[in-house]
């Protein structure tokens, strides 16, 4: 019966889903109280939902799709933090495990994976994604279920506004846009700046909007705003149009994957002015993709790899040993987010959602590699930003801007 084959396949798929439903113990009934039932401390020291001696964390990230390169860095950073914690004996005497789901760089997949982490896998805490759209989708689900969530690097202001279970360990877009506007105006003394933004990325649009507003307020002039789409590789048209306006500098708040190539093509069309950007630039790849063209450009970041602090140096060395490359900002933030989470779990009186949430909210002067983290009452990290100058294969510290 050849016809049976497809029917069997369909039946299998059904079964797969059916399995899912079974593994989940019937909840007590009230919707949205997952957290409370998780948190019932059966034994002092809390209980781990996935097993007796393992605390399960969840992460949803873009492991495939257009933002995969950022999602994978974040995952590596988180993975490292978990491994270190396990080597040091775990949290509350228990080993840690993390379940990582891919969202294909799409918010609806992020929501689906988050729901699965919460209801099927019963994770105690969720670590978010890079792109703000995806983290927003996750935040909605995590907040509704009362599971704390920390996003490593979603900088859009609205993410933590979703509720009191949502935290972040990076600074927000308005601050970073302000940092670069101030630096461009006061330190570099630029008068006319052109903006080249990534129209597919909310992060880039936000930074560009804030920068434009602040820079104009400070008496500068934004000559033109051009845009590209993530994944493009030919920016000559935009750059030729920018060149016509004769700016003193170009603000390119994008990701390193595009900025390196933009720098090369800017030099090619005869733009010799410095480029400026945000923490999306921070990656070893920037030097590879940008070559000599990117040298002499500036970007704002969470930390400087030159920072002699042994904590930072150890992180960089360990990461290099594990993954073969210098960590980018996303890896550092992932690492920080995971460590903030682990410290909070250790502090929390049990592993229920509200206790963990309160423990995270108390985070103060936490020594992260990407800056010292204090969470304010809006659950955003208050950190100073550094401005780095791109040199030959490394960055040079220029200045620190405080909030």
């Amino acid at each position: 019966m050849r016809r049976l084959a497809p029917m069997l396949l369909a039946a299998l798929a059904f079964l797969a889903a059916a399995c899912e439903k079974k593994t989940q113990p019937a909840p007590s009934g009230e919707g949205g109280t997952q957290a409370t039932q998780q948190g019932k401390p059966a034994t002092p020291g809390g209980e781990a939902p996935a097993g007796a001696d393992v605390i399960l964390l969840g992460q949803v990230g873009a492991l495939t799709g257009g933002q995969a390169t950022f999602g994978i860095s974040t995952r590596n950073g988180i993975e490292m933090a978990i491994k270190e914690a396990n080597a040091a004996g775990g949290v509350k005497g228990k080993k840690l495990a993390i379940r990582v789901y891919d969202n294909q760089s799409k918010p609806e997949e992020a929501a689906q994976a988050t729901t699965r982490l919460i209801t099927q896998d019963k994770v105690v805490l969720i670590l978010g994604d890079v792109a703000s759209s995806n983290s927003l989708a996750m935040a909605e689900k995590a907040q509704a279920a009362g599971v704390p969530m920390i996003t490593p690097s979603s900088t859009n202001t609205t993410v933590t506004q979703k509720g009191d279970y949502i935290f972040r360990v990076c600074f927000i877009d308005p601050f970073q846009g302000y940092v670069m506007a101030k630096f461009a105006r006061e330190d570099l003394k630029l008068n006319k700046v052109a903006v080249l933004q990534d129209n597919k990325s909310a992060y880039s649009i936000d930074l560009s909007d804030v920068f434009t507003r602040k820079f104009t307020e400070m008496g500068g002039k934004v000559t033109t705003t051009e845009s590209y789409s993530q994944g493009d590789t030919d920016y000559r048209a935009q750059l030729t149009a920018i060149r016509k306006t004769q700016p003193d500098g170009i603000y390119v708040p994008g990701y390193y994957s595009e900025v390196g190539v933009i720098a090369r093509q800017a030099r090619e069309v005869g733009l010799k002015v410095p480029l400026m950007g945000g923490d999306g630039w921070d990656s070893e790849k920037l030097f590879e993709l940008g070559g000599s063209a990117i040298q002499g450009s500036y970007f704002s970041n969470h930390y400087s790899p030159d920072n002699p602090d042994p904590r930072v140096q150890k992180f960089i060395a360990d990461y290099k040993a594990a993954y073969g490359s210098v960590p980018d900002a996303l890896a550092a933030l992932g690492y920080d987010a995971a460590r903030v989470a682990l410290a909070a779990l250790e502090r929390a009186k049990d592993l229920s959602g509200p206790s963990v949430r309160d423990a995270i909210a108390q985070t103060k002067d936490f020594p992260g590699v990407a800056g010292t983290i204090t969470l304010d009452d809006k659950r955003n990290a208050v950190k100073s930003a550094v401005v780095l100058k791109v040199g030959d294969g490394k960055t040079e510290y220029v200045t620190t801007v405080n909030p």
Binding site: M1, L4, A5, P6, L9, A10, L12, A13, F14, A16, A17, C19, E20, K21, Q24, A26, P27, G29, G31, A50, L56, L63, T64, G66, R75, E79, A97, I98, R99, V100, Y101, D102, S105, K106, P107, E108, A111, Q112, T115, R116, I118, Q120, D121, S132, S133, L136, A137, M138, A139, E140, K141, A144, A145, T158, N199, K200, A202, S204, I205, D206
Partner: protein, 355 residues
């Protein structure tokens, strides 16, 4: 040109007795859906997955009306979905604080939701009409590329409009949708598709699909039928988008790319072009497949590098499985037939046509 093997004659008979045919399906559907809703109320993940599945079914069945029944090749279905999602989303967002005074709040929300859905669907249908018009002149792959282009244009428009949230997307749309609502629309679209297939309208569509020139020679108003099937199909795609917008926390242009359109085409072809039940089964299968793979990989444990990476492997495997499935069943799961034509013999098999 490829010749398709002799077609089974579309069935005029339906398994339901003639006396009950009018209202019967609706009468059965409503309590079944209510039961279904009640059973699910405790599992957010099942609710979410089933809603996604329902939306995919609506998309696949509606696309099947154009691609399968009429034989026009549309690969811009995600564009119509986006129109429905954004229009009804924006509407609901603005009507969030509004309630109908003579109804309880929950009921009023559902009424407004239905209105938003219908507006979204109609907007999508209007776009479908616009895109259907070129089909007066374009054939086959050229029409395909026009629909694709339309989908991309919609995406760019959304990305550049502040009211639509630009790249960040539209969040905060009230989450009115429920499996009850989704599956009610699933039921409607299936009903419409089946009724079309069984009617003289459907015969005309099949005629166009098999040979447009011959159909025209036989007096079929090919243009009218083609445009109409476009309009119906995009209306339901808009509804699917509207439903989607009301249960995902955020809608974003990245969700309605040409990759999404291709996923819907895959469902239709995998199910068998022209087979409504085939489209349903394929949609269910392809929605559950990635989650099923996830379960499979989870069984491997959470420790170690491999388990960390397995979720990435899902997509390449999905691609390879598509190839394998098409090679093993090139006519789709059910070919042009419906599920009851291919079920094992203990279900009385109906007349199979000329083949």
């Amino acid at each position: 040109m490829m010749e398709t093997p002799a077609l089974p004659v579309p069935e005029a008979r339906s398994p339901i007795p003639a006396s009950l045919r009018g209202i019967f399906p609706v009468l059965v559907a409503l309590p079944v859906l209510a039961l279904f809703q009640w059973l699910l109320s405790e599992s957010p993940f099942a609710v979410y997955l089933l809603s996604v599945m329902g939306v995919n079914i609506i998309l696949a069945v509606s696309l099947n009306i154009v691609n399968g029944m009429t034989g026009q090749f549309s690969i811009g279905h995600a564009g119509f979905m986006a129109v429905g999602a954004y229009i009804s989303g924006v509407l609901s967002l603005n009507l969030k604080e509004v309630a109908l005074s003579f109804l309880p709040v929950a009921a009023s929300d559902q009424v407004l939701f239905t209105v938003a859905l219908l507006v979204g669907g109609l907007a999508a249908a209007a776009c479908g009409f616009l895109v259907g018009l070129p089909s007066l002149r374009l054939r086959g792959d050229y029409l395909a590329i026009v629909t694709l282009g339309f989908g991309e244009i919609i995406r760019v428009v959304v990305q550049n409009t502040d009211a639509f949230g630009r790249a960040l997307g539209l969040s905060g749309i009230p989450q009115y949708s429920s499996p009850y609502m989704v599956y009610f629309w699933v039921f409607l679209v299936v009903l419409v598709a089946r009724r079309i297939a069984g009617s003289s309208h459907g015969r005309s569509l099949w005629a166009i699909r098999e040979d447009e020139v011959a159909a025209e020679a036989m007096g079929v108003d090919t243009t009218g039928y083609k445009v109409r099937s476009f309009v119906i199909s995009s209306f339901f795609a808009g509804i699917a988008g509207g439903l989607f917008a009301h249960f995902v926390p955020i809608i974003n242009p990245g969700s309605f790319t040409f990759v999404k359109s291709m996923e819907i085409v895959v469902m239709v072809v995998l199910g068998g072009l022209g087979s409504t039940t085939g489209a349903i089964v394929a949609a269910i299968f392809l929605t559950l497949l990635p989650e099923g793979l996830r379960s499979l990989f989870n069984a491997l444990g959470t420790e170690g590098t491999l388990a960390q990476k397995v979720d990435q492997i899902r997509m390449p495997i999905y691609g390879l499985m598509l190839v394998a499935l098409m090679l093993s069943r090139p006519q789709g799961l059910f070919g042009m037939r419906e599920i009851w034509d291919v079920l094992p013999r203990w279900i009385p098999r109906r007349r199979r046509g000329l083949s």
